[in-house]
Symmetry: C2
Subunit: 428 residues, 2 copies
């Protein structure tokens, strides 16, 4: 006789009750083993979305998802570990310069990453544009690279939080993605199971992000920080702007190129600023004080680490990156001040050009994406290039151009313009 | 390219929007044909339960379920038709005397009924305790019996509202039964598809009913009355008490016996009162004025019709009814006034004695059930029989007795007692 049944648990949450530890443990375990059916879990997910969960429920739910699979352990490493997770943004290549930078400061960075789906790119897709680079690593190879190089970006194995994997696929088709308790437990179950000692969350806010407004982003951030802290992972979150895309490119090889510029001491100012802000948080979380990541970046040590990190996974850091076969230039409509460049518009355009995928497992183009030649606050000249679109398939231009319509504003020179800071808030 | 997709419809209802006609038509049709998956429909059902539906949405949803199957038509009959539907109660044998009584008054009564599940019995289960009686009739046989005898109680075919059949089974396992829009559309889609000219709804209220409080029962009743009226079916609802079980018996053969007593001019006063109240509404709905059902009952014409109705479906109205092999008597604990006899306690006891089923398709005992020898307001004597339990399997007594614990109160003689009326309200 099982301890609970699915209808009892669904009705409790439906009627606004707080689920007991025993109910949560049972329902996650039974769902993982197929004893709770998909149609029951989706009804429960909808009830959670509409009626919410307490902090205690979310923590128990997260723990139950961790318990559904294996856990990793980095305690044998000679260095402390720090991980970073971004909720996903347009042009968000920060992991690429950040991981080698933090590793060069003496902290091991295990970045178990995913592929992109929809308008935001995936870190693995970006790195796969480097000739020869492989995302799949055995656990032993990953640990050896962490000890040796200090940074690894690789595909997460299927053994961590399998309940989350199953639930995430279900939420995707049942309109139950946008529930803060389910988002927070999904992210944190994987990060806690992974075994990092400290974690910095980059919660994106704005038109190009999953969270469109600051209040909901702050709620998600504080929920995740509490989950991490309770599980013994030193966790902090930065709320960062995603109304404008990061840097000057969105795409796979395009973003690798921009990341290498940052590692070489150049690159767009916003990418450098956010990379350093996250690096400082990761170093603090790992207890590595007295190291200034800006100095390490300037010293070239981060670039050295990048090259070793790429080589260790079969990539050639000196190889030319793929370039799309076709380009299309969009010029500025008038002379004036660029006051807005919408992250969602740019993200959709890059996706439609072939940089992203619409269904899991589909291929992406390495060279496809969008470059913009000005950022909000910059002056533009009528007829001069504003955006360059890249794709191997020119028939994709028209749909990409559609998504850019209304996606930027040029105002008369002299219009007052107040830049949005990159880091909007910090939750610890 | 389909007009809609499931996630879009789910998210619209989740976020509190009113679904369009096109969304509702699409989702019911696609669900019937397996293009919307169970896990999507259950998430939608939960969103409907928690966020509600407007009258327009409920009407469209009902129509879409009717359109998923075939419709019947009684317009070829020489008499007007009237149907009755009860939301289910303990000891609710009213259909048995009511159908022949209304037929004897000149109105055709097509009662497409179901079997019981849980603590309330099913009309077909009760009639099947009559030796030889068959629930299954072809459509032609049903129409012929309606024309000839005037009353038929038979199993509903599977061709009416198949979308409802599929959705009802899903709601049962996903905690989404208790949604007024879904309950109302489920009942009314079948009744409208059946083609009755008028309909009287008996909406039960109280501990033994699906609806525990008057406000929700009134909301359900008015929703169903509006649906029927909009579909051209003259519809009225009575809200009736189900805090106390009806009559003096709950069980299959036990209730047939009590019904025959009513047809013979005797029987418990509450059963007679409710039968006559519903008969008057059915006659009025069918436009049959100037006939007093109390006189028709007293004349013996309703009993004649009962005998013909039973015989037409292979039953022997003169045969002895089955009797359970074992009985157990519960005596009154003290001398005094019986002030409460709880419908749910009695219903559960009858179910546990074998009168009902726990899973669809299971067999029921014809003789099992509960008799009570007093009703609230009656004086009882310490040690005298209060309840008699009937079953073929004496090992069932202990669980039945458990469900009766705390199910009745005996107060000192002289305690003030205010009887609850049977008919609590009328919605038209």
């Amino acid at each position: 006789m099982p301890a609970h049944d699915a209808v009892e648990v669904i009705i409790a949450k439906r009627d606004g009750a707080e689920l007991s530890d025993s109910q949560i443990d049972w329902v996650i375990d039974a769902y993982t083993h197929g004893e709770v059916a998909d149609e029951q879990m989706s009804a429960l997910a909808m009830a959670v979305l509409l009626n919410g969960m307490t902090r205690r429920e979310i923590a128990r739910w997260t723990n139950a998802m961790i318990a559904s699979g294996e856990r990793m352990d980095f305690s044998s490493l000679s260095r402390p570990t720090a991980d970073k997770h971004s909720t996903g943004g347009v042009g968000d290549k920060i992991t690429l310069p950040l991981a080698p930078l933090v590793a060069a400061c003496g902290v091991a960075v295990p970045q178990l990453s995913g592929r992109g789906l929809g308008h935001t790119g995936g870190t693995l897709d970006k790195l796969e544009s480097v000739p020869g680079w492989q995302a799949a690593l055995s656990r032993e190879a990953m640990l050896a690279q962490l000890e040796d190089v200090g940074a690894v970006v690789c595909a997460a194995g299927s053994g961590l939080a399998p309940a989350d994997k199953k639930l995430y696929a279900l939420r995707d088709v049942t309109g139950t993605v946008e529930a803060i308790p389910l988002i927070a437990s999904s992210i944190m179950s994987k990060k806690i199971a992974e075994g990092t000692g400290s974690l910095v969350l980059d919660v994106k806010v704005g038109t190009g992000a999953f969270m469109k407004d600051l209040e909901r982003a702050r709620e998600l951030a504080s929920t995740m920080v509490a989950l991490g802290t309770d599980a013994g992972v030193r966790t902090v979150a930065l709320l960062t702007d995603m109304s404008t895309p990061l840097g000057l490119t969105a795409g796979n090889a395009l973003e690798v190129r921009e990341s290498v510029e940052v590692l070489a001491g150049g690159g767009p100012a916003d990418v450098v600023e956010l990379t350093l802000a996250l690096a400082r948080e990761m170093l603090a979380g790992a207890g590595r004080t007295g190291v200034d990541p800006a100095e390490v970046l300037a010293s070239g040590a981060a670039m050295d680490c990048w090259r070793r990190m790429i080589s260790a996974q079969g990539g050639d850091p000196a190889a030319d990156l793929p370039v799309a076969r076709e380009t299309h230039v969009v010029t500025a409509p008038t002379t004036g001040l660029l006051t807005r460049l919408d992250a969602m518009a740019v993200g959709l355009a890059a996706w439609r050009l072939g940089a992203g995928r619409a269904t899991q497992g589909a291929a992406v183009q390495a060279g496809a994406g969008v470059e913009w030649h000005a950022r909000p606050g910059d002056l533009v000249t009528s007829g001069a290039p504003l955006l360059t679109l890249h794709t191997d398939e020119p028939e994709r231009f028209s749909r990409a151009l559609e998504s850019l319509e209304g996606g930027y504003d040029v105002q008369p020179t002299g219009t007052a313009y107040e830049p949005t800071p990159i880091v909007l808030d910090r939750v610890s």
